[in-house]
Amino acid sequence: MSAAENPSSENPRPTNPRLAVSLPGLELANPIMPASGCFGFGAEYAEYYDLSVLGSIMIKAATLEPRRGNPVVRVAETPSGMLNAIGLQNPGLDAVMAQKLPWLAEHFPDLPIIANVAGTLTEDYVEVSRVISTAPNVAALEINISCPNVKHGGITFGTRPEVAADLTSAIVAVSQVPVYVKLSPNVTDIAEIARAVAGAGADGLTLINTLTGMRLDLRRRRPIIANGTGGLSGPAVLPIALRMVDAVTRAVDIPVIGMGGVSTARDAIEMMMAGASAVAVGTANFTDPLACPRIIDGLEPLMDQVGIPSLEQLRAEVRSDHRPAA
């Protein structure tokens, strides 16, 4: 349903039972949502289309204090992908609570928001989670555990099962809304991390975050990205994301929001066939600002073509195949 077809503001989110998805904390009109960091806090893309057509928005990571982020160059292109090292630039928790979330609530009152949470200490994560989960339009949290943990010598929370589990339970204890933990793909066994996080009480998982990559500038003989390495995203990572969503949904019972390289309705359906209950779209927004509505509009025609009565039925079918290991 594109903005043009839905000019009525009285009933901005008519539910289409074929596309609706029900997840902990989230009653989604459709499974498509922009991925965190790829859509700011919505205002810029609201110039391009009515955001109320979206299933949800995963807003940009909030940290306790404002962050200026990394020096430029922050992005580099790769074949069918990109590297980024934005460095979590954000206006800080207070500004997100006072301006960004109220702006979304005012303009898109029925749109459930997923708040992405980042930090470098467990305490930061817990405090941001506690506060942001009280915002009226925040329906769920997404915990970005790919940040380096200063207490554990800079290794990322997301690469050690026990560290990830401890962080999860600390956040679950304070959050007013369901907690989704966002997994890093830079690990030998993602299912192991998924099991640890699920065991610690996460309501759901989101994956994949970016893969670590590098590009070099031949003339300057050093990395293009000022930070050295950056996170790889975009269509290039789609097959890795699909494999990991498949592996994780076979390993745990909690729902997964899948992401990584989705740029067409075909990719989104494929992600759900791999086990995802809903699908986030990141880099594709940059190639095409109308990527999300284009994908949403493409779902039903494709479902007709390949014989999927409804996404709930697809999920049930996939779930019966994806039997978690005992």
Partner: protein
């Protein structure tokens, strides 16, 4: 909701423009004419198109990021947009290699352009450009001259084979050219043009600049404190629409804040930014 939260009409998404002409106007520099499907409002000088090239697999594969390219000129009916681009990598090579008549995927015009009101009617505008920073100055010069502003161009190139649009600019005002090796115009950079008689005689009411960082720093230092000086900045971009925070430049007024070049710019007042 048919208008965005800003109250303006919704912006258009990517369009397929028809490539109607492609000409090599200097060594490795091409002018492309891109036709919109119907006449539209002329873009503001300093705004840019974000073009998505189709890079063949043997040249390194698919682009997912668009290429920001300034609008250099525009037909009277607003339908044909000229861009001038230097082939520096696989994306620009693919764009200039497209078959005439084939579609070019373009988003925009994007960004905030030059403020023409910075110079009063009858006043004098100095336009300083370097390399592929020169193109947006052409549409700017045309619009300023239309307004009744007299313009002087100081344009820097690497060498004589690199120079383009000198004659087109000369129809609009005085053109001073520098080349790194002195093979055309004055040897050196645009800074070295300041001592030329024509330059010393031209006291500008406003300065407009686009080009490499060292050139912009020179312009900022030389003119920024005296006269309203506008700089068009460049940075690697991802979204092109202000959402990803790839293309930032520090705000001179607030150490906690960074401007987004694609969204708040690419044109900034010299005093707004730390280069």
């Amino acid at each position: 909701m048919t208008v965005p939260t800003s109250g303006r009409p919704l912006r258009p998404g990517p369009q397929q423009l028809e490539l109607v002409a492609s000409t090599e106007i200097a060594r490795g520099v091409f002018s492309l004419v891109l036709r919109r499907s119907e006449p539209e409002q002329a873009p503001a000088p300093g705004t840019f198109l974000d073009l998505l090239p189709q890079i063949p697999a043997v040249a390194g594969g698919a682009a997912v990021l668009r290429r920001p390219i300034s609008i250099a000129d525009c037909s009277a009916d607003g339908r044909d947009l000229t861009v001038i681009l230097r082939v520096v990598g696989a994306g620009t090579a693919a764009l200039v290699g497209q078959t005439i008549g084939s579609p070019v995927d373009a988003l925009g015009p994007l960004g905030h352009g030059f403020d023409l009101d910075a110079v009063e009617v009858g006043g004098r505008a100095l336009l300083v450009g370097g390399g592929v920073g020169v193109p947006p100055l052409y549409l700017l010069a045309r619009r300023l001259v239309d307004r009744g502003v007299s313009v002087q161009m100081r344009l820097g190139f690497r060498d004589a084979s690199d120079v383009f649009y000198a004659e087109e600019f000369a129809r609009l005002g005085e053109v001073l050219i520098s080349t790194d090796d002195g093979s055309a115009g004055v040897g050196g950079t645009v800074a070295d043009l300041a001592s030329q008689p024509g330059a010393r005689a031209f006291v500008p009411d406003g300065v407009f600049a686009c080009g490499p960082l060292p050139m912009l720093r020179y312009v900022q230092a030389a003119f920024g404190a005296q006269v309203r000086t506008q700089l068009s900045l460049e940075e690697r971009m991802a979204c092109g629409v202000g959402a990803c925070y790839a293309c930032v430049v520090p705000d001179a007024g607030d150490p906690d804040h960074q401007h987004r070049i694609c969204w708040d710019g690419p044109v900034f007042d010299a005093q707004e930014v730390v280069l």
